[in-house]
Symmetry: C2
Subunit: 287 residues, 2 copies
């Protein structure tokens, strides 16, 4: 059953491409227009059957669409919103997939003067360490969480449409306050990525470099997989959720310092307590 006649996806990468595939598979969209800067990349998206056509001009891509999904790194959003504004009608529902909702709302306010009622801030908590349309797949959002963070003035019908769109991909949709979203994500996503990038960079700088990675096992592979994520995207997230990230980072640094001191002092009780508590928490969480 058609839910969206024409959908524009700005940024046809891992997330945008997977959304397109999932909606097409669900049969809820007639026509998908891709938008980006790289024609070869967009042609590839057509060849892969991800989008129907493409435009490199945002205004042209948005023209005539019921829904516009902005799936570019959060640092590029303000410029995209300015271009959307010139072409979207008041009835065009606009949503995004950015990981830092405070900054995205700031960006659209800067572009529009105020946050339009037709804008539904959204964040699919899904992804892999890979990027680009070639890494996209229809099942990416199956049973994954999508968080919407509408404001008081956000149009209820627009929220419902965006919710149904994500539910059609197999995702579980919930709503949350903007700041709470940014705090939770800083802890569960942004900080782990920071640590993975930092750890791999520290180890790569050690003398034994070549050998170190050679003797790494499965635990290390899993632990550092997210350090293969897109640097630009994660740079943007750090800059755009700075305060929440720094807050949880500082807390982690203090805890790590205490653990280091306990190891230095052979404080077995302290070390065991931390490890046992962590294992108990992690075991509750699904594998």
């Amino acid at each position: 059953m058609t839910m969206i006649k024409q959908l524009t996806i700005i940024g046809v990468g891992l997330i945008g491409g997977s959304l397109a595939r999932a909606l097409r598979e669900a049969g809820v969209v007639n026509e998908i227009v891709g938008c980006g800067q790289d024609k070869d990349h967009l042609q590839q998206a057509i060849d892969l059957g991800v989008i129907n056509k493409y435009e490199t001009d945002v205004a042209k891509a948005v023209h005539g669409s019921d829904v516009v999904v902005v799936a570019v790194p959060v640092g590029a959003m303000e410029s995209i919103f300015r271009q959307i504004k010139t072409a979207a009608s008041a009835h065009t529902v606009i949503t995004d997939v950015g990981s830092t909702k405070g900054s995205v709302i700031h960006a659209i306010r800067a572009a529009y003067g105020s946050v339009p009622a037709s804008f539904v801030p959204g964040h699919p908590i899904a992804g892999t360490e890979k990027s680009g349309v070639t890494a996209s797949f229809a099942g990416l959002f199956h049973y994954r969480r999508v968080v919407l963070t509408p404001l008081e003035n956000t149009d209820k019908a627009a929220v419902t449409l965006v919710r149904k769109m994500w539910e059609a991909t197999g995702a579980v949709v919930s709503q949350m306050d903007v700041k709470h979203h940014d705090d939770v994500l800083a802890a569960t996503s942004h900080l782990p990525h920071l640590l993975a990038f930092a750890l791999v960079d520290t180890l790569a700088a050690l003398d034994e470099k070549a050998e170190i990675f050679q003797y790494a096992a499965g635990g290390f592979r899993d632990f550092t997989r997210i350090a293969s994520s897109d640097p630009k995207m994660w740079h943007d997230i750090c800059v755009n959720n700075r305060d929440a990230i720094l807050q949880v980072l500082q807390r982690f640094q203090l805890d790590l310092e205490k653990l280091g001191k306990a190891i230095a002092n052979n404080d077995s009780d302290y070390i065991l307590d931390v490890f046992k508590r962590a294992k108990a928490s992690r075991d509750q969480f699904s594998q």
Copy 2:
């Protein structure tokens, strides 16, 4: 072709159990004697076809064996070595699977007075976050590294036998200096485990606890999987490879502090450089 007539495995857990299964599957051992403190656990190992029989007394378990593998947490090794000494002949090859070779050599020296020529320090760099014989499987060591760290006086024939034993499990065996092994493992295994335990404990202590884990995605799952590892085993590793761990931990803490400052100062170049270098290093490493 029989390589070992009777093998004793002290500590029939994930590693000891997997070694038994792998050698049995390879058909290179006639009889496997398990040893431990928990009769139910050992009976389970018999029921699962992992070992042929068991003894709870170390001296009895060792009696008549060609090879003795010590697969207990490193903190328990000295006591085990003292018991082995009372029963092993000079021809019994003794080896271990401990992650901290310096401390294991220290433990056997304390037990024997000097390190016997029949002792071959070994470390299979393999494992999962699970523990116990029920988690063991024959393929655990396939294409995994096993590092032997023999000393100058170690018997060459004993080293060859232990090497062949591990090769029969599908592992790739190499030799390394004791200190170098401990430095490399501190970086690639011990520090990542510390960070995973510390991160999960930090997050569990946050107010939003329940919700935080609920909104965690696949990246977080992979990143924190090793925080489900055995607390006692990892406590022992921290205590027994303290200096090497503290050295690389300190280096990481300094790097993390610099990255935090760069985020606080909106130093995009610095952040991007770290992330790009990390991604390049991680991408070279197999998935």
